[in-house]
């Protein structure tokens, strides 16, 4: 087991180094810089002032030097100063991480709570009205982009109830109920798509397992249907589902960008897009690195969980 873990950890570390390079280079390939954008909002260009500001922000230095300085600062836990706000990047990012993590967790919770039972139900009732209904439900989920669904939810609420969730963040320490209400709708909007995917994966995986000899044997032994499904079939059928959950967690960030924007939640995902728009390199670099770490860690967790669920994996 331990060599497997060590191998996976080394791979994760190398991936992160590679990611840091890709992030850094790609960001600088995008046209324009923060200085262009500062002048864009002012509506004029003054070459001397531009040069002065670029020098102040140190973006006139060679790219390689900028990269090394960033990595050095990162290693010391210094995320730099936001070009746009002139404040430490960590101070800006820090407050936003819990919002995104909470929303992603709630969305995954919604996805698993809806996806797994509906998948099982669909498989155990194959080709019945229940199965058809649930398949339509999951297909719809896969077809609807999260931002569209979020906007539809918002418009439905305002039209029917003249109410929408709060547009300013409510801390759980101030009002837990209002906080959960505020997060439940975006979690639903993001989680629905993942639920649909998980449901389809659970269904097909369950159908496959339900046709296995050992399941037939269990049935032949006269075991109750509940035991056959939950104990013999489900555990084996869950392996690919866990993989999907892991990868979905990584992909969730894309859905969160628009959902945080639609529901006006002060999360990392929405802020990342704004920082990219402003070419605020310290914020973008560190946030993307944060996301890369989350993705690499979630993949690592899936790998380790896989190894735990299926002993054959660790010897391969």
């Amino acid at each position: 087991m331990w060599p497997f873990v060590a191998r996976r950890l080394t791979l994760a570390a190398l991936t992160l180094v590679g990611m840091s390079l890709v992030i850094f280079v790609l960001l600088r390939l995008a046209p324009g810089s923060i200085v262009d954008l500062i002048f864009q909002s002012a509506g004029y260009v003054d070459p001397a002032a531009k040069q002065r500001i670029a020098h102040e922000l140190q973006i006139d230095r060679p790219v390689a030097i900028q990269y090394l300085l960033w990595v050095r600062d990162l290693a010391h836990g210094d995320l730099g100063i936001s070009y746009r706000y002139g404040l430490p990047a960590w101070q800006i990012i820090r407050g936003r991480i819990p919002t995104t993590v909470e929303l992603a967790t709630l969305a995954m919770l919604v996805a698993v709570l809806i996806g797994v039972p509906t998948g099982i139900l669909s498989a155990t009732h194959q080709d019945t009205a229940v199965d058809y209904g649930l398949r339509v439900f999951s297909l719809a989920g896969l077809s609807m982009p999260a931002f569209w669904l979020g906007m539809v939810i918002l418009l439905f609420l305002v039209r029917e109830f003249h109410w929408i969730p709060s547009m300013t963040y409510i801390s759980p320490y101030v009002d837990l109920r209002a906080h959960l209400v505020q997060f439940s709708f975006p979690a639903l909007a993001v989680g629905y798509r993942s639920a649909a995917l998980i449901s389809r994966m659970t269904r097909s995986s369950m159908l496959e397992v339900l046709r296995e000899d050992y399941v037939r044997t269990a049935r032949a032994k006269g075991l109750p249907r509940r035991i056959v499904v939950n104990r013999h079939a489900l555990r084996n059928a869950l392996l690919p589902v866990v993989t999907v959950i892991g990868t979905e967690f990584a992909f969730l960030i894309g859905g969160l960008v628009v959902t945080e924007t639609v529901f006006n939640l002060p999360g990392v995902a929405r802020y990342l897009v704004e920082a990219i728009t402003w070419r605020d390199y310290p914020i973008v670099q560190n946030l993307v690195m944060f996301i890369a770490i989350v993705v690499v860690c979630s993949n690592l967790a899936v790998d380790l969980l896989y190894a735990r669920l299926d002993p054959r994996v660790r010897y391969e």
Binding site: P31, L37, A42, D46, L154, I164, M167, T261, R270
Partner: protein, 537 residues
């Protein structure tokens, strides 16, 4: 005799009518109430909190409540003219030395939000910094309105409560520029760089909290120098990036008012249908849609081709098709009744591009033929525009219109980060553009957009005769004579095709009926003091 008597009765009836109307409206108008928090819409984080360093409503809208000017356009009147200017930090002002000096007597006992006293030193410091006096220790990182104050020779502060602006030439428009929301007084004891992220003003509200990307919260200034003002306890500028969400929040009552430049006519109509009690106020905000024709790029070096471009565009069609009726046709100054300097309709109709579209197109084809272009040799041109829907709609319409006279256009969408740099470099042939003007005065507009060598004269139009006329109108003290000159300049600019104007936006400002005394102005930049606003909930 009979007619005279009838006239007397008419006057009497009118007088009684006015008396009754005033009495009824006075009786019906509720008196202002203290208290309450106003939730105002905001679309994005301001680039910075420093009004003097920015040229966007995203900064003015939330930061104006924090500051005061020497003078300001009366918040309760939509029109911005010399006669609607009221004193803020200045109690009174007089023109001296034949219009070459403007002296202000300042209020006494005014305090900055940090408790320090306000004096003439702060005024001198502010405008010395804005006009870029090199000896000053503090400088603005960006200085978009330095040109407004180019005519100031010196600023004297002979005592703590007197300031005198001495000018090279008379310039009646100076007072209007000082009354703009773009002209707050900064504290001399605080470095200007600090004001990018915090606010120390003398204004009716103090900055309570700024949660980036979320909220800018202002609280009532208890030491404000006007007794019983402001009425509100605070203002929350709620930042909502997504337009659909902003509208939903307004409809759900989480926002009390929209923000300037946010109200399209169609969106306002939809909101009004959904919530009939919402109040919709139409207001033009001194923003025009225009075409930039690069004077240095062939074939637009030929005056006939430039004029053909201007004549090819059906302005009324643009207003209806692109802006859905939310705009009006005009020349280079904002048209009446929204603006004060717009050309009268009869004079406008005589200008190229403003007549019958069919006839104009025929003339455009004729001009192109004279310049050597026609069916066998058509002009192919790239029409650049900013990659924002408002700009792209405009440029797409221009391409369609040009095609009808035989000019083949291809759309090029330019990232916002590159837009002004590209225009300033002159790296385009034709461009679809929007221009916002800070103050409805010819000086603010002409010097910025039309004089030779101005950094924002993107089309690189240069006519020394026009420059001379612009300088002449700027120094003319007689308003009638100045207006005549301004009309003449506008006609010449359109004939020269300096920057063909397609339309002037008219926004629909939406608010809940309990919001009182928030009057949209003809410029978006000058009505966000919120000192007089109150809530009748």
């Amino acid at each position: 005799m009979r007619g005279q008597k009838g006239g007397q009765w008419g006057v009497l009836t009118l007088f009684l009518g006015i008396v009754v109307t005033v009495a009824v409206s006075t009786a019906a108008a509720p008196s202002p109430k203290r208290g309450g928090i106003l939730n105002a819409m905001h679309r994005e984080d301001p680039p910075s909190l420093s009004i003097h360093e920015e040229a966007t409503i995203s900064t003015n809208w939330p930061m104006m409540p924090c500051y005061n000017n020497l003078v300001l356009f009366n918040p309760l009147f939509g029109q911005e003219t010399v006669s609607t200017i009221v004193g803020e930090l200045a109690e009174k002002w007089t023109w001296q030395d034949g219009g070459k000096a403007l002296a202000f007597t300042l209020r006494q006992g005014v305090k900055w939000h940090d408790g320090r006293p306000f004096t003439s030193r702060d005024v001198k410091y502010t405008f010395d910094m804005v006009r870029g006096v090199p000896e000053l220790a503090s400088h603005l990182r960006l200085n978009p309105r330095k040109g407004w104050y180019a005519n100031i020779q010196s600023i004297d502060a002979p005592d703590p409560f007197t300031v005198i602006f001495r000018l090279t030439q008379p310039q009646p428009s100076l007072l209007l520029m000082l009354a703009s929301g773009y002209s707050p007084i900064y504290p001399a004891h605080i470095d200007a760089a600090e004001l990018r992220s915090r606010c120390v003003g003398t204004g009716p509200f103090r900055l309570k909290e700024y949660r980036r990307g979320e909220l800018i919260e202002m609280e009532r200034n208890p030491d404000y120098f006007i007794r019983d003002r402001p009425y509100l306890d605070g203002i929350r500028f709620i930042i909502i990036r997504e337009r659909g969400t902003r509208i939903a929040a307004l409809q759900a009552g989480q926002l009390d008012v929209t923000m300037p430049q946010e109200g399209s006519k169609t969106a306002a109509e939809q909101l009004k249908r959904a919530v009939p009690s919402l109040v919709v106020v139409e207001a033009a905000h001194n923003v025009n849609d225009n075409i930039l024709v690069n004077f240095k790029q062939p074939p637009f070096t030929d005056a006939r081709v430039r004029r053909a471009v201007s004549m090819a565009i059906d302005r009324q069609g643009f207003v209806q098709a692109v802006r859905q009726g939310g705009a009006v046709v005009g020349a280079s100054m904002q048209p009446r009744p929204w603006g004060n300097w717009g050309l009268p309709n009869d004079q406008l109709a005589q200008l190229p591009g403003f007549g019958d579209p069919t006839r104009q197109r025929a003339e455009a084809r004729q001009l192109l033929a004279e310049a050597g272009f026609g069916p066998g040799k058509s002009i192919r041109v790239t029409v650049s525009t900013r990659a924002i829907a408002l700009f792209v709609d405009l440029a797409t319409y221009v391409i369609d219109q040009l095609k009808q006279v035989g000019i083949e256009g291809t759309l090029e969408q330019v990232d916002s980060a590159q837009w002004y740099a590209k225009l300033t470099r002159g790296d385009y042939a034709l461009a679809g553009n929007l221009t916002g003007i800070g103050v409805d005065d010819p000086d603010a507009n002409f010097y910025e957009n039309y004089v030779c060598g101005s950094p924002r004269n993107y089309s690189q139009y240069c006519n020394p005769e026009i420059d001379r006329m612009i300088a002449q109108q700027s120094q003319t003290l007689d308003p009638v004579q100045r207006r005549r000159l301004v009309y003449e300049i506008q006609k010449r600019l359109e004939i020269d095709g300096a920057r063909p104007i397609l339309g002037w936006s008219v926004d629909s400002y939406v608010m809940w009926p309990y919001v009182k005394n928030l009057v949209p102005h003809e410029s978006i930049y000058s009505y966000a003091r919120f000192q007089e606003v109150w809530l009748n909930r």
